[in-house]
Amino acid sequence: MTAFHSHLPVLQVIVPMLTAPLVILLNQKRLPWIVATAASLCAFAIAVTLAMSVMAGQTIQYSLGAWPAPWGIELAVDAFSALMLLVVTGASSVALLAGAQSLDKDIEHHRQPLFYAAWLLALSGLAGILVTADAFNIFVFMEISSLASYVLISGGPDKRALPAVFKYLVMGTIGATFYLIGVGLIYMMTGTLNLADMAFRIEDVADQTPILLAAGFITIGLALKAAIFPLHIWLPNAYTYAPNMVTVFLAACATKVAIYVLLRFDFFVFQPNLVGHDFQFTFFLLPLSLLAILVGSSVAIFEPKLKRLMAWSSVAQIGYITLGASLLSVSGTTASVLHIFNHSLAKGALFLVMACLGMRIAQLRIDNIAGIAQKMPWTMAAFVLAGLSLIGVPGTAGFISKWYLITASFESGAMGIALVVIILISSLMAVVYIWRIVESAYFRQPEEDLVITEAPIPLLLMTWVVVLMNVYFGFAPGVPIELATGAAELLHGQTP
């Protein structure tokens, strides 16, 4: 490991972060986009390097300011964070590469430098959450990413983006503040902010009321951020009215990062130390996950707006992720982590398709895309494949995580069968809502002659790249599985 390599964890965060101030100083037409994309790609490259190091068996640690761990802030990259970093930086890079035209359409030119700066900040905030090993530092970066996300979403062309983003802001802030309270209470009882140190020291004071309270606050706060049912109400509108590319980016990773923190805290800090903590999983998280899956899917079935439909589907998919976690087994957590990755792929691709459609059609409603497959065959073909992945058809990435999820459900005994049934029912529901779109696009006659053409090449190209990744990881899921298994074992305290 070279000297430069050892700095990668921090570079992961500060490369996009420090590029942001540069971006707002740029005035040329394309320059902000170019710089932002370059920074994002650079971050992606770093993430890949980190993932390779992690897979080679290292856990990378980094002390900021060279101060030792519980006193200074420490960064740590393990299998879980490496996987998430791949998702986050990958989503950002793809969306930026694909999105130049789409964003030109949504954001006026003179506002673009600010927009791209906010984008980079969102990226660095998310990356910052993932690399840090410090509870308070998570809060700081959570706020960077949240504020930047609010900015990004508010760039949406529809005025309804504004109330949506306001709601998101209020709920997001409540979530973050709850988290802050929880961290404060734990700090009060343990005197430390470092996660590993915390997990170690919490043992002495476990089961005292402040710690229980802290667990509650942290869980609720992060659940708000992660849009876990029934705290998801900010999500559909925020995703619907955001600029298309922003939806691609955020849908693929924003809530997932909150789930990441939640899993970290629950499994790392609370689970080994709190009596009855696993009950809470079984009694709260599990039913809520199931409800999320069913409600999200049902609403999606009847939703006429395409992006909203996708957003509700996200609510359901978040349910899958938490369901896996709530099974409290290594395989369940593996499924959960894996689904984070795979759902990002699938949903990212779907929202990219939405962006493609959005380039050509004003109102993305099911009725408006009747017969569009003739005009935009490549776009809709991509949609079909990505939709299959979302449903979980074998041969796509979505199948792999559902497979793991179902296996994990079976392992959990008699209840498992019921879970499997629900998972399958909801898959069927996914079939229905994906199918409604496919049917409209392929098998209905357009009401009038559509004078539209295929989406712009870069957008289409990136869409297909992601779609093909869905297929690729459906057949060769080795890397994500390895990382996810590593992450799950880590979370359950088993050293691989």
Binding site: H7, P21, I24, A66, A118, G191
Partner: protein, 328 residues
């Protein structure tokens, strides 16, 4: 004894909070929240948190009041009659409060030296500051060096908010600015008011200087980049109030503001990067000079400057952005 003062002040605080929520008049709410901030700041001061008290005062009583008022000027003064479904929420909230209060019974005793908070990392900071950085203000040392990464994040939070507001409200005047008759008739601030103008003008240089003083004495007393930035911005906002929006923009044009926003953030980051280039970790200032202690002090000075610059730039930008939307 101070605890008893605290008791009274906290009670006042609670009353204020209830009044804020109860008041239908938004303006009154804003005024009361200014008071709330002051009271809160005094409480912080009583709890030995001088830096926090200064910040809360500068932010809560100063900046946020100004921002809220300018938003009110554009939007509305009164809120509508409340909705009917309040009882449920009230009950939930009361239950939650009781639960929280019950939970506090398990807290460590107030100000107990044996509480975990005072045991683990805190003494280390106190010792290490004297040894490795050698400045009196431990808060600044922790803020700037031991947890400098957090502060970098904080600067970028401010930065994000700044570009966010600029992005939302833009540099162009919005639709309301045109339809606002006042904007066109009198863009000149408080010009006609002789007394405020004269006194204000006399004070502005001193406020500025005081801001810079707070900036550069962050290592010795309460204060630092953020508080200084707020004070300097307040001075210029005062000027804008007295002489009008445009005069203030002439003093510090928008392009300069953008430069300040970006420059301060970059300054911080670049200092951090120097740590890497000079062979240590990110944000390690001790390598900046041959003497590690001197290096730390230098690093702190520069990053505080970065914080101050960004905060000034952002707060002013936000103020101008709001003001441009409707005459404040």
């Amino acid at each position: 004894m101070t605890v008893i003062f605290g008791f009274f002040l906290l009670t006042l605080l609670l009353i204020t909070a209830v009044a804020i929520v109860q008041s239908q008049n938004l303006f009154v709410s804003v005024m009361l929240s200014g008071m709330f901030s002051l009271l809160l700041a005094v409480n912080f001061f009583l709890l030995d948190a001088a830096d926090v008290a200064l910040t809360e005062a500068a932010v809560g009583a100063g900046i946020s009041t100004v921002l809220l008022l300018s938003a009110l000027a554009i939007t509305a003064k009164h809120e509508k009659a409340p909705s009917s479904s309040r009882v449920g929420a009230l009950i939930i909230v009361i239950i939650a409060t009781l639960v929280l209060i019950y939970a506090t019974l398990g807290n460590p005793q107030f100000a107990d030296p044996n509480a975990p908070v005072h045991q683990h990392v805190a003494p280390w900071y106190l010792d290490k500051t004297a040894e490795a950085i050698d400045i009196p203000n431990v808060v600044t040392a922790v803020l700037g060096s031991f947890r400098g990464y957090d502060t970098l994040g904080e600067v970028f939070v401010v930065f994000t908010a700044g570009i966010g507001v600029l992005f939302l409200l833009g540099t162009q005047p919005g639709p309301f600015a045109q339809s606002n008759p006042f904007k066109l008739t009198d863009p000149k601030g408080l010009r006609h008011y002789l007394i405020p103008r004269v006194v204000g003008r006399m004070l502005i240089p001193f406020i500025l200087l005081f801001g810079l003083y707070v900036q550069f004495h962050g290592e010795y007393g309460p204060g630092g980049g953020f508080q200084a930035g707020a004070l300097i911005a307040a001075a210029i906002i005062l000027f804008a109030l007295l002489e009008g929006e445009n005069s203030a923009l002439k003093v510090i044009p928008r392009s300069v503001l953008i430069g300040l926003i970006a420059g301060g953030a970059l300054l911080y980051g670049v200092v951090g990067l120097f740590g890497i280039f000079l062979g240590s970790n990110f944000l390690d200032y001790s390598v900046l000079s041959s003497n590690p202690v001197k290096g730390q002090q230098m690093g702190l000075l520069i990053i505080e400057a970065g914080v101050g610059i960004t905060v000034t730039g952002v707060l002013l930008s936000i103020f101008h952005a709001f003001a441009a939307r409707g005459k404040f």
